[in-house]
């Protein structure tokens, strides 16, 4: 039963061959669903182990012929074959080694097998072939059986998948049967390899087929999508945070690996594209290794720009040679240039081992192990791919015939480790940021406390300074005023120069001065207006009792407060003026005016309607005026004494009361 596509997927139980590329969309969907479910199941089975996957029949009926017959022929159909030109051969066969130099249009294989009497209801039989890279056609007992597309002038094929070909009961016969395979040998570089085929009940062969499908097709498909998505995502992160070079390298590696893995999925391609695709494939494979090396170096914190440039330069050689040769150097590049990546990989193993030893972190150790596994897988694959070029031990040759490539899985593991490393770094960065925030907060809080403490300290010092100033002021005041007056009076009284009236006068002045001090030093630190109020209230009683009327005019804002020393001096000057008016002027009215001008200056006026300066005791008023003048000078104020038609007026002007001391 010839099939046009050759991509043969076979339903075991029913014996009905279903060909990909045929059937409606619905069919394809069902197929996809079934394939997916099966892939999952088989994947699990494959992971658990081959033993589980083995068919569960009591006695296996599988046949695995190794002795075959081979013929190099131009014949296209079995009928054109020469019956006498068959030569013995064995499977697995590597044409280039078993028939060196023999090239022709077609290589024919004849595989004979004995069909045992079949158990009733045992189902259809099938032929399982793990790979047939370049395709071919099958006949069973002379009748066409299946066709797997071959490379033509317009299409290039490379089948990575296995094939399971159902043999219709109508074509089978009990006893000897004959399968003919025609493979193409036209391409001089053709590398025809034929693994042993397995013939047996479809049910028995299906697990083998599905297992291999899982490894060579389902896994790569998943890897392509995963690597592409993860790579794009991480590259996006790197694009937003250019400093995170590791993210960029990982993203690049993942995308390169995704591209490289397309080789498992792309089975047919227009011929002109093929060299380009191979160039891309080599670039992606080599690029992955180079980027991995850069990643490991950066991860270990080693910067060697010359080494990085060297690696990049070597990486360019392969694809450039491919492109320059138009694809003719595919094999050379694959063998020589890709082979050159092996030392790079080994160096990488050494380097990551050194880094793991140096840093002794789980991440560096994991990276080292993954790189080592990857390198081993790469070498393994290289040897399998080029098994014709090396003399391999017989055991390995048998294994090589299975052509199971491992680098793909090693790379997946590597990428997983890299993801884990980046995730760890990300988490650590988040933790560090949080820790930093906490630190910062606590440092800010500590700084605040420090500032508060310093502020409190300064405030405390200021209070102490203020108290100190206050004490100083009071001491100075006592010394200059009360003290000086008491001492002078004592001296005068002792030498008899002070009579009783004089003594009373002195003591009253002392008490009055003390009252001033109390007014000014009142605990509630009242404004000038309030202090003046109490002062004048006292004087009003004194003056009234002496028959003198006190008229006051105070135009001050309530809020005006002056330094205590200034208030004190102002009140003393006023007190001196009032005393003069009371004692010496024989006045009937005294007027006190205090106001603040628009420019902020302060004016104090004390006027009386007494006998004036001329009439008063010159000595007494002279002393009083002298006192007032010296106090005004200390305040930085000006004082004027005017003689009125009747009485005297004293005007004190203080231009900047707030700054006075």
């Amino acid at each position: 039963m010839p099939t046009p596509t050759g991509a043969t997927i076979v339903q075991g139980a029913g014996g009905v061959a279903t060909r990909a590329g045929r059937g409606g969309k619905r069919h394809a969907w069902l197929l996809l669903r079934r394939s997916f479910g099966r892939a999952l199941r088989i994947g699990l089975v494959a992971l658990v182990g081959a033993a589980v996957a083995a068919p569960s029949q009591e006695v296996s009926q599988r046949l695995e012929p190794t002795a075959v017959e081979v013929q190099l022929s131009a014949a296209a159909e079995p009928s054109q074959l020469a019956a006498d030109r068959w030569a013995p051969g064995t499977l697995p066969d590597n044409w280039a080694r078993s028939h060196p130099g023999m090239m022709g249009p077609n290589a024919w294989y004849r595989i004979a097998f004995e069909l045992p009497p079949r158990r009733p209801g045992s189902g259809s039989w099938a032929l399982y072939i793990p790979y047939l890279y370049d395709g071919g056609r099958f006949w069973l007992n002379g009748e066409p059986l299946a066709s797997i597309a071959q490379t033509t002038a317009s299409t290039h094929v490379r089948w990575e998948r296995p094939h399971l070909i159902v043999m219709p009961d109508s074509q089978l016969r009990v006893g000897r049967n004959e399968v003919l395979l025609r493979a193409v040998l036209t391409d001089p570089g053709a590398n025809l390899r034929l693994q042993r085929m397995t013939i047996g009940p479809s049910d028995e062969l299906l697990p083998f087929y599905e297992r291999r499908i899982f490894w060579v097709r389902t896994m790569p498909q998943g890897a392509i999508v995963t690597c592409l998505v993860v790579g794009a995502f991480v590259l996006f992160i790197w694009w937003r945070r250019r400093s995170e070079v590791l993210y960029g390298l990982f993203g690049l590696a993942a995308v390169l690996w995704s591209i490289r893995t397309l080789t498992f999925v792309i089975e047919q391609m227009p011929s002109p594209w093929w060299p380009w695709w191979r160039a891309v494939y080599h670039a992606a494979t080599g690029g992955f290794i180079v980027v991995l090396a850069l990643f490991a170096m950066r991860f270990a914190g080693v910067a060697r720009p010359w080494l990085e440039r060297g690696l990049a330069a070597y990486w360019l050689i392969g694809p450039v040679a491919m492109l320059a040769s138009g694809g003719r150097l595919d094999s050379t590049v694959g063998f020589v240039w890709t082979g050159g990546m092996i030392p790079v990989g080994l160096a990488l193993v050494g380097f990551t081992a050194w880094a793991a030893w140096k840093y002794r972190t789980g991440a560096s150790l994991a990276l080292m192990l993954a790189v080592a596994l990857g390198a081993a897988a790469g070498i393994h694959d290289y040897l399998i791919a080029w098994d014709g070029a090396f003399r391999l031990p017989e055991v390995f040759a048998g294994w090589a015939a299975h052509r199971i490539f491992l680098l793909h899985h090693g790379a997946n593991l590597l990428l997983l480790v890299m993801v884990a490393i980046l995730t760890l770094r990300f988490v650590q960065a988040l933790d560090a940021a949080e820790e930093l925030n906490r630190n910062l907060e606590s440092r800010v809080a500590a700084r605040e406390r420090e500032l508060q403490a310093r502020h409190d300290e300064i405030a405390q010092l200021e209070r102490e300074q203020a108290a100190q100033d206050e004490r100083q002021r009071i001491m100075q005041d006592l010394h200059d005023g009360l003290g000086s007056q008491l001492f002078t009076s004592l001296s005068r009284a002792e030498r008899g120069a002070l009579d009783a009236d004089g003594l009373v006068q002195v003591l009253r002045e002392c008490i009055a001065d003390m009252r001033l001090a109390f007014d000014v030093a009142a605990p509630d630190r009242r404004g000038l207006r309030a202090v003046l109020g109490d002062f004048l209230f006292r004087w009003e009683t004194l003056l009234r009792d002496a028959g003198v009327r006190l008229a006051t005019e105070i135009a001050l804002p309530d809020s005006l407060r002056l330094p205590p020393t200034v208030t004190m001096q102002l009140l003393r000057i006023a007190q001196e003026a009032l005393t003069n008016a009371l004692k010496h002027a024989a006045a009937t009215e005294v007027r006190v005016t205090v106001r603040q001008e628009a420019d902020g200056s302060l004016q104090l006026q004390v006027s009386d309607d007494g006998c004036g300066l001329a009439g008063a005791s010159a000595r007494a008023t002279g002393r009083g005026l002298g006192n007032m003048a010296s106090r005004a000078q200390r305040l930085g104020a000006t004082i004027e004494v005017e003689s009125l038609t009747r009485g005297t007026r004293i005007i004190l002007r203080l231009s900047r009361p707030g700054d006075a001391r």
Partner: protein, 215 residues
Amino acid sequence: MVASVLIVEDEPEFLRRFSDAVLADPGLRLLGAVSTGAAALALLGAQAPDVMLIDLGLPDVDGVEVIRRAAQRCPQTDVIVITMFGDDGHVLSSIEAGATGYLLKDAAGDRIAASIHEARAGGSPISPSIARRVLMRFRLAPTAPPPAAHEVSPLSERETEILRLVAKGLSFETVGELLAISPHTVVAHVKKIYRKLAVHSRGEAVYEAGQMGLI
């Protein structure tokens, strides 16, 4: 009518000074001159003077306590407290206890007698700082804390106005002119204010005692 005066002063010099001032005035009669709170209280128990002059710094009993007892036993007695500086907190305590006047310790003899007569005439002196303290006491000053819910100022608007003007440093005469009343009416208002302050303080003490569960 001659006013009887009781003097309570522990310093002999001043006891003598005040006694002399009272004795010198024909309008005054010296009922007693004692130097201890106990003696004052004993005398108050027997007789009610028209005026009591009292110094707060007594050796045995707190002067404020003597004033409080006097206010209880002899509500008609005008109590004048003797003070050195006139604006200290003791004056306010005395007013709260029931005093209605105060006298500076160094006042001349004439002033002592004049103060007693003024008190008998129904007037009370008040300095700006005392006016401010009274306003604070009634929580009427701008800087005072807001009154509690149970507090309603017992002062009339006129009394409050007078206190505010005096606190600003205006003389009685000016206040009288501003309010179109005589200076005598002003000092009469002040006396009423003092009485209200005493009542208010007692009420507040009772209220606070109630709050604290004492009564």
